[in-house]
Symmetry: C3
């Protein structure tokens, strides 16, 4: 159910980018109760001029390895679950592929259950 | 009014991608009462490592021709209209360019009418 | 806090694209009280077949220099602030890099304060 968009600087290996998607997915499974095989993610790679971010906002030092993650999810999670998700994503990506926790930017967009179709033109999650 | 993002694997012809945008737009016109010329869409093309999706989630068999569609729309549609939109998009894309219905993933993000400016710095839909 | 996505036709100079990001950021600072260094933006460059828009919708004449801007922001602004933001973005981009005001398309997606993590796995804006 999450639709995940990941923006990174170009030049990372396929293995590195796979580790990003897997680390985010494991966090979604652990904290948002997302099924393991419910994974839908698009990565865009950007040159320096096309991924713009402040390197000190809120006193957090960001590097060239900055990762911008935007997850569209159903609006059924508590604030505690969201906090746990952020922590878990940062933990997972720090472990593998080794992203500095400062470089992990996350934003959630929330939608209704009926706002998804996983194929066949059907709203599988609608009530 | 919809802002549509389409993610597909790289390598499809311009004609194929044009058929995607036209099929989605015809569905929006038919089911969401969107004006025919109210079309604003961005396509991103991804190599295999940058478009990640499960090939069996919910028992739906997805192929390399998977299409991820995210539509940002005004929050004025009923659940019935949303269901009709999903069905119509899948039907239209199955007909032309011939996307398998299993490969059509759709997500809606809803916003207020006042959240759009179509040019000239004006909120044309604000009340 | 805003996560800004900018889609433009490929081929613009880095200076031109930098002027887009700076003009949008100055508008956010002026009208949405965004801190100057709270800037997180991703630009995608598209060939003609991958950036699809009507050239006359609502009687507004759009050119090849069309800019599609989608801003995800916290849901704390009034309609008046939104109108002021649209006008200011169009003004700023008209001044530099010289985008025609007709070519500036803007959409806002609104989320809760708790939906952001700026690094370190923490929800810095959560109450």
């Amino acid at each position: 159910m999450p639709l995940t968009r990941i923006a990174v600087r170009a030049g990372k290996s396929a293995e590195y980018r796979r580790a990003l998607t897997q680390g985010i997915q494991r966090a979604l499974v652990a904290e948002f109760n997302v099924p393991e095989d419910d994974i839908f993610m698009a990565i865009t790679e950007h040159d320096e001029s096309n991924l713009v971010y402040d390197r000190r906002y809120l006193g957090i030092e960001r590097s060239d390895d900055f990762v911008m993650i935007q997850l569209t999810v159903t609006n059924s999670r508590t604030q505690e679950q969201k906090k746990a998700l952020y922590a878990r994503i940062a933990d997972n990506l720090a472990e593998h592929p080794g992203v500095r926790r400062e470089d992990v930017f996350i934003n959630l967009v929330e939608v209704l259950k009926e706002n998804w179709s996983f194929g066949n033109g059907i709203a599988q999650y609608a009530l």
